[in-house]
């Protein structure tokens, strides 16, 4: 039996690795991949707690999170493609038209 705290620690570490990736990477696609990493860490936390509470709620929530992540990935990548078509770059530092 895997102790709950170990799984929660793994989820927290993966989430913070994703947060660090969003802060320090400049490629829009890699930032998006770090957001997916954060979503995966949250899924792990839900399933671990669902196992600990002996309840199916966590797994149903993970089902819906995966569906929404798929929809978000499709639209987010379409936005990045449209951005690349207009600006010839996916570096988020160069998309600064609305900055003061």
């Amino acid at each position: 039996m895997i102790p709950l705290s170990h799984t929660l620690i793994l989820g927290a570490v993966l989430f913070c690795i994703g947060v660090l990736g969003v802060f320090i990477r400049r490629n829009a696609i890699v930032i998006f991949m770090c957001i997916e990493l954060m979503l995966n860490a949250v899924n792990l936390t839900f399933i671990a707690i669902s196992r600990s509470l002996n309840s199916l709620d966590g797994q149903v929530i993970v089902f819906f999170v995966m569906t929404v992540a798929a929809a978000e990935a499709a639209i987010g990548l379409a936005i990045i493609l449209a951005l690349f078509r207009n600006r010839e770059t996916v570096n988020v530092d160069e998309v600064n038209l609305m900055r003061w």
Partner: protein, 165 residues
């Protein structure tokens, strides 16, 4: 044996996660993210969520990450522009903030037994069958709404991908 497998998968997930944010080539980042998802699917199997492990492999690693790889190869990016940020304080502030978040999260994960119990207990049926029993009765409305979400995503992706909007 279970604990050994869990630590193996956890180590693989953390190392691959760190390599996702450190490598320069976006294709390598996507492949390491797939490795993270494979390790997480293994951990879901160890935690008794077999259906979720299969769905993670099919949907996440098999569809979403393939979509990512399509887009990366479609854009055909140059490798130097996709590195870590070169600015002065930005990297340091990012590392400090992420470490702070990790400290905050680690201060509450020392729990081994959560109080209370969930609403739908896991019975002795197979994981897929018991999930289906809950999903199609109690969670029917969110299930139908996710179908609408997927329809909106399809329409949105097609509209955003047109040459002239």
């Amino acid at each position: 044996m279970e604990q050994l497998l869990f630590y193996l998968f956890a180590l693989g997930a953390v190392i691959s996660g760190v390599l996702v944010i450190l490598k320069k080539n976006p294709v390598i980042n996507a492949l390491f993210l797939i490795v993270v998802m494979l390790c997480l699917a293994g951990i879901y199997l160890l935690l008794g969520a077999q259906f979720m492990a299969a769905i993670q492999l099919i949907v996440y690693a098999g569809a979403i990450m393939v979509l990512f790889l399509f887009v990366i190869m479609l854009l055909n990016l140059d490798q130097e522009i996709s590195g870590i940020v070169k600015g002065g304080p930005q990297k340091l502030i990012g590392i400090i903030l992420a470490a702070l978040l990790l400290a905050i999260l680690l201060s509450v994960v020392g729990i081994n037994q959560l109080p209370g119990k969930g609403a739908h207990p896991i019975d002795e049926l197979a994981n897929t069958e018991s999930l289906a029993r809950v999903l199609f009765t109690h969670f029917l409305l969110p299930f139908e709404i996710t179908s609408v979400i997927l329809l909106i995503a399809i329409i949105g992706a097609i509209v955003l991908g047109k040459k002239k909007l």
